[in-house]
Amino acid sequence: MTDTLSRRDQRLLDRTTPGRRIVAIRVAVLLASLAGLNYIVWRWAASVNWSSWWIAVPLILAETYSVIDSLLFGLGAWRLRERGEPPTAPDPDGLETRVTVDVFVTTYNEEVDLVMRTALAAQRIRYPHTTWILDDGGRPEIRAAADAAGIGVITRSDDWADRPRHAKAGNLNNALLSTEGEFLLILDADQVPKPEILDRTLGYFKDERVALVQTPQWFENVPESDPLGSQAPLFYGPIQQSKDGWNSAFFCGSNAVLRREALMQLGVSRYVTEVEAAVRRAVRTSRKLLVRAREEAVGQPRVLEALDDAETVVERARAEFAAGESIGDVTYRFQRSIDTIAFRFADADLAAMKGDLAELAAMSLGPDTFDALDEAALDLLAQRSSSPLAAIESISLLVGALDVDRGSEAQAIMPLATISVTEDMATAMRLHGLGWRSVYHDETLAIGLAPEDLATMMTQRLRWAQGTMQVFFRENPLVQKGLSWGQRLMYFSTMWSYLSGFAAVVYIAAPVLCLSFGVVPVQAYSVDFFARLIPFLVLNQLLFWVVAAGRPTWRGQQYSLALFPVWIASVTTAFQNVYRGRALGFSVTPKTKQAATGPRWDLVRPQIWAVACLVAALVLVGIRYATGQAEGIAPLVNIAWVLFDLVIFSIIVRAVLYPGPSAPHDKEQS
């Protein structure tokens, strides 16, 4: 494909933000960052009221959190990349230039009509391609509708029976092994693509290092006021563009094109990494496992004898592994030796059983009666699983781990990451770690459906946040060797933003305590204080305003505070999941509205309590004013703060009362 790279394409591949805009952004970044540092350093050095440390310390930690958040935002924006017009797609008519593309429409339980609406639109995409429905539900209705339309359906192969399914990542991994296209366009069941989607994205792959082109997600069933904060104009825009500038724009699960070669390379190298890790772990714990096996086998002299043999075999594998022999060879010899032990014992058992059978046969009428039985017994005993060693759990664990077949997984090769419920981000980070590039192309090329009620929306946000935090706990970007520091910080900044729930609690509690009981966490609400805080707040908003360039940002700011219970739950559940093996309580986001149940105030109880506290604080400070207990500037600052919090939380009321979009979502596309 490089041969056909025209000068125009090269120019478009290298293009970035126009000079004037990037200068404006950088000035704003510098000003906001300096103001933030100036404020927070002064706060730490000179204004913590240590006598009320129990609120003063949380407050300054929350403020530090916010300043770091602002610095990370600025760091990204510093290299914000607006690409504009894409390079032309490879010529589909030339034998040499043509590329093959598979379009995957992923579904689990969405309605047939919804899936087919997307699949038929996918079929109409202009660039030559093959459309597939990846039906994880394996539903006959989908099969029938797809057959009628001449669209292929891919369901899980038999290998997945009784093995971890890994949700959407598993669905995609399964399809990857049964298709051939060089490029893959991934679409969620509700994301209806425009016919030009491939023409507008394939050109970027003329840079052979590009693995991923992500385009925005935009939703048609959302009113202008967007009460549920469904559109993400800042994320699908300046934030992804910021990441793009640092080569860390990431995969968001849908409306993206991926290069198969990159995914397969990732799959193969992950396979090696994971097999090596499993073997290393098995070797390291083998002695402990053997000790445990002996405990399990107490009073069974035959098994103990077998364990002696097994120990020799394990020790040899350990030595070979330490000497750096290839894992394939070490594990093969190990497995064969374990089999040998098993066979030897099986032989002994067989001899005994044959004796019994012979006696029985002698007593029976027909001489052939037991022949079949004999055969069956022989078969059974010759299998690894029936050896006396296999009966010892610790040993079967060891034997399972000291192998290269990843027997516990359906496929040895799993290109899409399975460490998180948001496989997309984890996969992109690994691709970046291998040195691949990504592109964020800021043009709406597919139109989707957003959740239409608060409950569904909250489930979806919780899932995204949980997935991101799973990646943080499992593969912390700050310590990923293959990533540049810019990439590490860009991934980290997404994770950092989900910690806002903890800061939000402090930002609610601090003014409430101040107004209600006169607890003052800041030493001096003085000129010093305002001279530092106000420039930071103003310049930070200015930075936001410059970067957003006219895109609405207020809804996003509201929800980053107002959904604080969701963010906190995401961090704690992901922590429990990663370190304690607990379930996430994860469910697939329904693409259509749940049955109407009336306003769901129960979903936002913590927010209602927060609002009640804020209002009560206003009442209390009124009383304190009336009785002459409150004076000075501290109550005024905190009253302003409480009012700001209340404006933020007002969105929750609107969201609960939101009846859903007025027009049905499946209206005719004109």
């Binding site: 092994l177 051939e180 060089e182 198969r260 070669e261 990159a262 995914l263 397969m264 390379q265 799959g267 193969v268 190298s269 396979y271 090696v272 990494t273 097999v275 090596e276 290839s326 894992i327 394939g328 060879d329 093969y332 010899r333 497995q335 089999d339 192998d403 290269v404 077949d405 990843r406 027997g407 496929q411 040895a412 090769i413």
Partner: protein, 110 residues
């Protein structure tokens, strides 16, 4: 285009993919390996001396063939990769698991 020639050896067979082992040609290799394992072969030797190019899907196919061979109680071994193939084996670290042998005789040795 790729063709796979098959030659029986003691305890198994030697498969020689000739040409490019890529996403398009991997099903051929996988089917061949499955057929040999079903026929009772346990040692699958893949002679790569005539394989001019392997992409990551080709490597993926070698891994899934290794998995099938192991699950049948056998093994899969690589022999004499060309320059390009050695390079991709190194790049993905797959050579740490599947260390190629110099010759078919060496692969039969242990």
């Amino acid at each position: 285009m790729m063709t796979v020639t098959v030659e029986a050896v003691e305890g198994g067979c030697v498969l020689s993919p000739q040409g490019r082992l890529t996403v398009v040609s991997t099903p051929q290799l996988r089917d061949e390996v499955a057929a040999r394992l079903a026929a009772g072969d346990r040692l699958i030797i893949v002679d790569l001396s005539g394989t001019t190019f392997v992409d990551s899907s080709g490597l993926g196919a070698l891994v899934s063939c290794l998995k099938s061979a192991r699950q049948a109680g056998g093994d899969l071994r690589l022999v004499a990769p060309t320059e390009q193939v050695s390079m991709v084996l190194r790049l993905t670290n797959l050579d740490r698991i599947l260390k190629p042998r110099a010759s078919v005789a060496a692969a039969l040795d242990d």
